[in-house]
């Protein structure tokens, strides 16, 4: 088991637990840091940060659309679509940065649907560090990572 840590776009810190066999990755600590301008309702802002982080972790580790050869989506239900559950995730920590937006009367910035690019980069970088190989495509699902480590499988 190894732990790896990575920073992406100065807005996200992810700590992962990675088990060599069977190449399974779990997020054990995750911090989302973002400038909200002025957080009018901090609880809601926190929720938006957390929602974006969870979606990003899902994309980074497991979520993907699987299409058949004739273009039909094969995992269109929750029995097959690999979305993370609350029990898969740690408490998502948040740090709300407040630098007032001078173009807005209340100084706010948009925080709805937080971008999910930082989590993909942070998680991908952490996994790459853990396995000692670059990651060029997501998700870092166990079969895919195992294939990188053991190409014969």
């Amino acid at each position: 088991m190894r732990a790896a840590r990575a920073l992406a776009l100065r807005s996200t810190s992810a700590t992962l637990r990675w088990t060599k066999k069977p190449a399974k990755t779990d997020a054990v600590r995750y911090t989302a840091i973002q400038d909200a301008g002025k957080a009018i309702h901090p609880g809601y802002v926190e929720g938006q940060f957390q929602g974006g982080a969870v979606q990003g972790i899902g994309w980074a580790l497991n979520e993907e659309y699987v299409y058949s050869k004739d273009g039909v989506m094969e995992n269109a239900g929750f029995l097959d679509y690999r979305i993370p559950l609350a029990s898969d995730l740690p408490e998502i920590e948040t740090i709300i940065v407040e630098v007032p937006n001078s173009f807005h009367p209340f100084g706010v910035r948009g925080v709805g649907e937080t971008g999910i690019i930082p989590p993909l980069a942070a998680v991908g970088t952490a996994v790459a560090e853990a396995i000692g190989q670059p990651i060029s495509s997501l998700p870092c699902s166990p079969p895919k990572i195992l294939k990188l480590l053991m190409p014969e499988i």
Binding site: K21, P22, K24, N62, V66, E74, N75, F78, L79, D80, Y81, R82, I83, S141, P142, P143, L146, M150, I153
Partner: protein
């Protein structure tokens, strides 16, 4: 029915038949009534004392809502290829008691969603003999949480049984691993043993080769757990 695999004309609820959900023990044999829910099995002190691995397996099925409604009899009669109970019944060398006969685990599981049950035959109980050591290890499918691979590893009087669910069309025993571990119960004994991927499931979540690899990883972890 939800999966459109069967369309019965009538559905008969067995839930209110008295005693059909009873959990009792006699002469080292644990008897679990067919209508015992997963929640009842996992919480039962009789089950925990008789076989902690069985109690923990029941506690890992589905989610809380499923565990409060689903029953051991229902799970076995359905024989879903990724269900947990088939691995327990086969690995623990249990017997299935119906309204007319007793069926061994080996004879009970026939194929995907197929069992030895006649169309009008009803499971009444499952008999679990005493085992010395048992452990159940499951790698859940990241979407459905069913077992991508589930391994029940047991050891009684030196004899090892390895029952695997989730990996193939129906639960099966890994004979080569059983043989190697019965003669030498150490991880090194199975270093050279492999499981052929030929008959294993392949789907969007994992290839057959990945499942074969996963089976061995879980068996090794089981040996480690029982040796500790």
């Amino acid at each position: 029915m939800k999966q459109r695999l069967s369309a019965p004309s009538d559905v008969i609820d067995l839930a209110k038949i008295p005693g059909l959900d009873a959990i009792t023990q006699a002469d080292d044999v644990l008897q679990i009534g067919a209508m015992a829910t997963h929640a009842k099995v996992t919480a039962s002190s009789l089950v925990q004392e008789h076989c902690a691995a069985l109690a923990s397996l029941a506690g890992g099925i589905g989610d809380r809502q499923v565990r409060n409604r689903g029953t051991i009899g229902g799970s076995l009669a359905n024989n879903d290829p990724a269900a947990d109970y088939p691995a327990a019944v086969l690995g623990l060398n249990a017997e299935i008691v119906t309204d007319r006969r007793t069926i061994t685990a080996e004879a009970f599981f026939k194929a995907m969603f197929e069992t030895a049950l006649e169309p009008d035959e009803i499971i009444q109980a499952v008999h679990f003999p005493q085992v010395e050591q048992a452990v159940y290890l499951k790698f859940p499918n990241p979407a459905s949480r069913y077992a991508m691979v589930g391994v029940m590893l047991t050891r009684t009087a030196g004899e090892v049984r390895v029952a695997i669910t989730g990996a193939a069309a129906s639960v099966f025993r890994a004979a080569a691993f059983e043989e190697a571990l019965t003669s030498d119960f150490r991880i090194s004994a199975i270093d050279a043993v492999t499981l052929s991927a030929e008959t294993l499931n392949a789907d969007m979540h994992a290839s057959a080769e990945y499942r074969a690899h996963l089976c061995k990883v879980l068996i090794k972890r089981g040996v480690e757990a029982l040796s500790a």
